[in-house]
Each structure stands twice: as structure tokens, then as C-alpha cells.
């Protein structure tokens, strides 16, 4: 009866209740959706890191990561590799040689990490090969008489391996992409000019296009004018095992695009068999083992088992390799909670205000209810239920709207292309797929109910203080 009466009371002043409900709905929707976007971005970041950049577990000499000393290889590496491959829960293991060095072309140079891999094994621990930009290469697939390297898009731009050329084909392609004629007209003066890098091309575009045109079509134009001279070359220099400087010319066997500028800038992949003769290392010698496991949940368990098995080596799971990722995941959890608490606190004040009005308006009725025998506990529960209903209706609506919108946007993602450069510099993609976890959803629901209860306490206490005789006398 109390429940029914409370529910009916909510709809007594429809406009006022709707205003509160709508504000709860908007608050919850805003909070949940914002969290979903952050969550999605982080999930994608973690996913990219685990699938394209680091995989799950790394094993190397205990001092190796201090300064990547070429001497610090894994003793009996081949044997250990085989043993780990046999372990339950392990899906693949790949050996790596890792040295620091310098990549240079005729005009530019950059410090890089040169990673020697066994392409077939590497494909099983990471799917970096999947991110190869079409037309740039095939991740060491095709036979080559020369040495080959697989590099990131950012490094390719930095070394002027990628250039920008506007020609008739580019203009035709842009017409197909619905770039208006007036913009194309502005591009015709560029035909025949070879821009050495992205910066120069951007600068030229800036000179002739309006800000709006740059924003709307800049990326399409750059993508279309992007040009890669196949079989471009670069020189890699590094120290060999005897600390003598050595190096060789490598042809580009592919450019990868992981949308993480730092990674693209620094990681250069070459074949182990190409690197071994240059470094003076023995065949089968390597610095690191990259382990991929079947179930991410088992990371800690398998890492512990590997640590037991290999006490003389350093075994690190992805959280240790990239502590920022782990920290990010932990920190955002706390951040979400904080974020939701602020939103709910704001809503609580709205509810308190409304419920105080309700108590004031219904002084006489509440007096009558006490007079005819409704005890304090029941009066309190009735007022409390009314505010819980208010917040719950709004909360549930907000959750439904968020869920629907998350569902829709998760299918195609949301494109934050305006922030692309900034996001990619931090390792985040600009195309975000919002995502929310079930526990978060449940937590929010519980918090909404708690908010309803907490914000009803003060108005309900006010209702209890009413003197029935006095309350009845009010008009």
C-alpha cells in the first residue's frame, strides 16, 4: 500500500516530477556515455597494445632492459623457447633480437629500436602485420635478394620515405570522394610538385585553402596525395657484438599504421637471419622471447609459473612492460567512480529540493495520515520511496538511453578526427568505439538507488517533525 501510494504520489505533480526525472536521465546518460567513450578508448588502447605492440609476456636477461646490451642474450634460448611452447595456456612464442641504432635516409635520420624477428613466429604473437598500409609491402612475405625492414608510418614520414604528390589520378580520386570543384581548382597549382613530407604539404594547403576547407577535406586530400616510392631504401647503423659500428642498407618491406606515433616512430622490424651476420651473433642467439597466451585472465598465473621456471631471467607481463597501461586501467576506474559521484551528488540536491517542496505542500495530508494512524516509520518510508522512485525512473531511463546509444555508436565508432594527431601521439586512435562493462552498469544502478535513499533522508525527517494537530490546521 505504501509502495503504491508513493508511486502514485510521484505522478501527482507531473511537471515537477518530470523535470526531476529528466534531469536525472540527462545526468546519468551524460555520465555513463562519457565513461563509455573513455572506457572504449582505453579498451582499444589496451587491445592495440596487446595485439599489435607488446603481446602478453616478455622474457629476457635480468639486466637487458637497462641499456639493451647486445651481449645479454638468453642462454640456451632455443631450448627454453621449445619448453615454453609446450606449456599449457601458451599459444605462441617468438624470439627477438633487439638492438638500438639509427635509421637514416639521404636527408633525415632518427634513433630507433631495431628488432630482429622470425616473421612466421612473430605473426603468431602479434598481428602487427595486419596493419600494413596497402601497397607498401607484405611483412617479409615475398622473397627478396636484398635486406628488408618493416617500419612505422610516422618514421616513414620523418625519413621522407612518404611523399605527397598531387596528380591527375589524385584529383580524380578526390572528385569521387565528393570534394567540391572549387577546392579541386585550388589544388591544380600543386600538380607536378613533389612535397617531401607531410609538414610541407600541410603548409602548402594552409596557404591556399580556407580553414573550413582544411578541416573538412584536409585529411582526404592528404590521404589521396600520400605517395610511397616502392622499394625505398634506408640505412640502419648500430654496434655489433664487438662494439664496432656497423650497418647496412635495407629496403622497405612494408609500412605499418598502428595509430600510435611513438611506437611507429621507434620500432623497426627486420629479419633475424638478416641481422645475425651483421651483429656477429651466433644463429639461434637472441635477447628476448615474446609469449602469447590463450586467456588474458590467466596472465598472472602463467607469469608466475614462468618466473618459477626461469629464476635467472626477467619475466614480465604486459602490466609490468607498460605500467602506464595498467595504471591507466586502474586510474580510470577510480576516475569513473569520482565522476559518477559528482553527477549523483548534483542530482541528489535536486531531489532534496523537490522532496522538501513535496513535504511542505503536503503538510496537511501528512498530518492527517499521522492522525489516522500511519506511524513514523511508514511516513518516512513513503517519502523515501517517492524519492527512490523519482531517481530510479530517471536513472533507468538514462541507462536505457545510454545503452541504446552505446549500442548504436559501438557498431560504427565515433570519429574524433579533429583530435586525431593529439590522440595518436598518446597512442590512442581517434576512432573510438564506446564500451561499458556490466559491473559498471550494476554499480551505477546501485548508486542511483543509494542517491534516492540518501537524498530522501532530510525531507523525510522534516515530515516526521510535523505535529499532526498543527498540520491539520494549515490550509
Amino acid at each position: 500500500m505504501i509502495w503504491k501510494t508513493a508511486w502514485k504520489n510521484v505522478w501527482r505533480n507531473k511537471v515537477r516530477s518530470l523535470v526531476v526525472i529528466i534531469s536525472v536521465t540527462i545526468g546519468i546518460f551524460g555520465g555513463v556515455f562519457a565513461v563509455a567513450i573513455m572506457n572504449g578508448a582505453i579498451a582499444q588502447r589496451v587491445d592495440a597494445a596487446l595485439n599489435q605492440e607488446i603481446s602478453h609476456i616478455h622474457i629476457n636477461d635480468k639486466a637487458f632492459r637497462d641499456n639493451y646490451d647486445i651481449q645479454l642474450t638468453i642462454p640456451d634460448g632455443e631450448q627454453i623457447l621449445k619448453e615454453i611452447e609446450e606449456m599449457p595456456g601458451v599459444s605462441a612464442v617468438a624470439p627477438r633480437i633487439q638492438i638500438t641504432g639509427m635509421a637514416s635516409t639521404a636527408t633525415k635520420s632518427a634513433g630507433v629500436e631495431i628488432i630482429g624477428i622470425d616473421p612466421e613466429r612473430e605473426k603468431k604473437v602479434l598481428n602487427l602485420y595486419d596493419t600494413t598500409i596497402p601497397g607498401t609491402g607484405d611483412f617479409f612475405e615475398s622473397e627478396s635478394s636484398s635486406l628488408t625492414a618493416y617500419i612505422g608510418q610516422e618514421l616513414a614520414k620523418e625519413l621522407n620515405i612518404i611523399r605527397y604528390i598531387v596528380d591527375e589520378d589524385v584529383l580524380a580520386a578526390l572528385t569521387g570522394k565528393e570534394v567540391p570543384g572549387e577546392v579541386l581548382n585550388k589544388l591544380t597549382p600543386f600538380v607536378g610538385i613533389r612535397f617531401k613530407n607531410e609538414k610541407a604539404f600541410k603548409k602548402a594547403l594552409k596557404g591556399s585553402l580556407t580553414l573550413k576547407e582544411q578541416r573538412n577535406f584536409g585529411k582526404s586530400i592528404r590521404d589521396a596525395a600520400w605517395s610511397f616510392r616502392s622499394r625505398s631504401k634506408m640505412t640502419l647503423t648500430f654496434l655489433d657484438k664487438t662494439q664496432m659500428q656497423t650497418g647496412a642498407v635495407f629496403r622497405i618491406a612494408g609500412i605499418y599504421d598502428v595509430r600510435n606515433s611513438m611506437f611507429e616512430m621507434s620500432q623497426v622490424f627486420v629479419k633475424n637471419e638478416d641481422l645475425i651476420p651483421l651483429t656477429g651473433m651466433a644463429p639461434g642467439e637472441f635477447h628476448q622471447l615474446v609469449v602469447r597466451i590463450d586467456d588474458l585472465e590467466a596472465t598472472e598465473e602463467i607469469t608466475a609459473a614462468l618466473k618459477d621456471k626461469l629464476p635467472d631471467l626477467e619475466v614480465m607481463d604486459w602490466k609490468e612492460i607498460q605500467p602506464d597501461l595498467a595504471m591507466m586501467t586502474d586510474m580510470v576506474q577510480r576516475f569513473y567512480a569520482f565522476f559518477m559521484v559528482i553527477i549523483l551528488a548534483a542530482l541528489a540536491f535536486g531531489i532534496v529540493n523537490t522532496m522538501l517542496m513535496v513535504v511542505l505542500e503536503r503538510t496537511k495530508e501528512l498530518g492527517m495520515l499521522t492522525a489516522i494512524g500511519m506511524n513514523k516509520k511508514r511516513v518516512f518510508s513513503m517519502i523515501m520511496l517517492e524519492s527512490v522512485f523519482l531517481s530510479l525512473v530517471g536513472g533507468v531511463l538514462g541507462m536505457i538511453i545510454s545503452q541504446v546509444l552505446i549500442g548504436i555508436t559501438a557498431r560504427n565508432g565515433i570519429n574524433f578526427s579533429n583530435y586525431q594527431e593529439g590522440l595518436e601521439a598518446l597512442g590512442y586512435t581517434s576512432h573510438i568505439y564506446p564500451a561499458i562493462s556490466m559491473p559498471f552498469f550494476i554499480t551505477v544502478t546501485v548508486l542511483i538507488i543509494l542517491t534516492g535513499i540518501l537524498s530522501s533522508i532530510y525531507p523525510a525527517l522534516k515530515a516526521l517533525k510535523l505535529d499532526p494537530a498543527e498540520a491539520l490546521r494549515t490550509d
Binding site: T5, K364, T370, R378
Partner: protein, 228 residues
Amino acid sequence: MKVLEIKNVHKIYNSSEVKVHAVNGVNLEFEKGEFAAIVGPSGSGKTTLLNMIGGLDTPTQGEILVDNTNLAGLKSSRLIDFRMRNIGFVFQSYNLIPVLTAKENVEFIMNLQKWDKKERDERTFELLKAVGLEDRVNSRPSKLSGGQQQRVAVARALASKPKFVLADEPTANLDSKSTETLLDIMEHLNKEEGITFIFSTHDARVMKKARRVITIEDGRVISDERKN
């Protein structure tokens, strides 16, 4: 059988400057089945007296015994429960719960007392029939006339079979036809079911129907007449 005894009851209001002796040494007894009116001009203290009888206000001095229980001796939570079980209230401005239907208003107290559904439905229907509203069971108060609302209020007051019903100027807001109907209904319930009614009023029509008229002036009983 005595249902209510009022023994030397005083009520003094101490506002900042003036001391108001609203009820000044009232002694009264009510038997089961009485149909009594407490009358007096505005400010005579009749509403204060009625509130004290109903346990909504406490006497400054004296005792109010309902079925030999002293109301002043009950803690507030016990008092609310006592009111629910023993006293029915009818207010001047009906005071129904606007979001509930006539039926729901009547069964509200039975619900609080956790009656089972079958008994509750039977009693509710019986009462609504007694007040002539069996065809308005599902109407909300806003769809009922003032007289009809007050009849629902009477049905509600009787729901939990109280020892007596207190009605504070029940006809003050009603036209003469509604007043007559309401009085007839209450008289009928009084005679047929032996329910004790105590009114406060200055409505001559109520006084005419009442079988006992207690007149109060300046907080004192100045006359107590019984008609036959």
C-alpha cells in the same frame, strides 16, 4: 459501558506574552453508542478538546481515558498505533488521499493493519455501501462532490472498527442536502452498528440530530443536555 472519560482536563498555551487557558477543567464521560455534539462559538476551546480526545494533543493537566487507557501515558509511537486501532477521524476538509480511489482510501488503515485481502474487500464494500457510494468505488476524490468525499471519510473512519469516531465540524463545508444525507448516514450507522460519534460543530442541523449536546464557552462546559 464507558468508552471515554475526560477527568479535569486543562490545556494552557504559553505563547510569548499571553497565557491562553484554552480548556479549563473539563470533566466528561461518554457511553458506548452516544451521538453527541460539542458546540460553542469559535475560540471556545472545542477543537482543542477534540484534539486532546483524539490523542493529537496532550493536556497540560488531567487525564483522558479511552477504554481505561490514559492517552497521556502513551509514548508517541504507541499513541499513533492506539489512534489507528481505537479512534476514527472525520475532518472538516475531508482530507482524503487525493491519489487514491474511494476504495483505496477506505482500506488504507486496514492495509496498515495488515488485514487479509478478502476481509478487507468485504469490509470496504460494506462501508461504501453504507455511505451510499457503492457505485463510486474507483473514483478519485477529485471526481467526487464535497458531500461524497465526506462520506468516504466517514467510511474510512469506521474501517478499523474504532471505539468512537471524532468528527471536527464535518458539515462545515457542505450544502444542506449533503449535510442531511451525511447526518442520516451517520445516525444510521450509530443506531444500527452502535458506533459512538462525537462531533464538534456549530451547525444547528447537527445539534438537532444529536442526542446529547455539550456546550463549551471559554474552555468550560456550561451545559450538557441529553435528549430522548
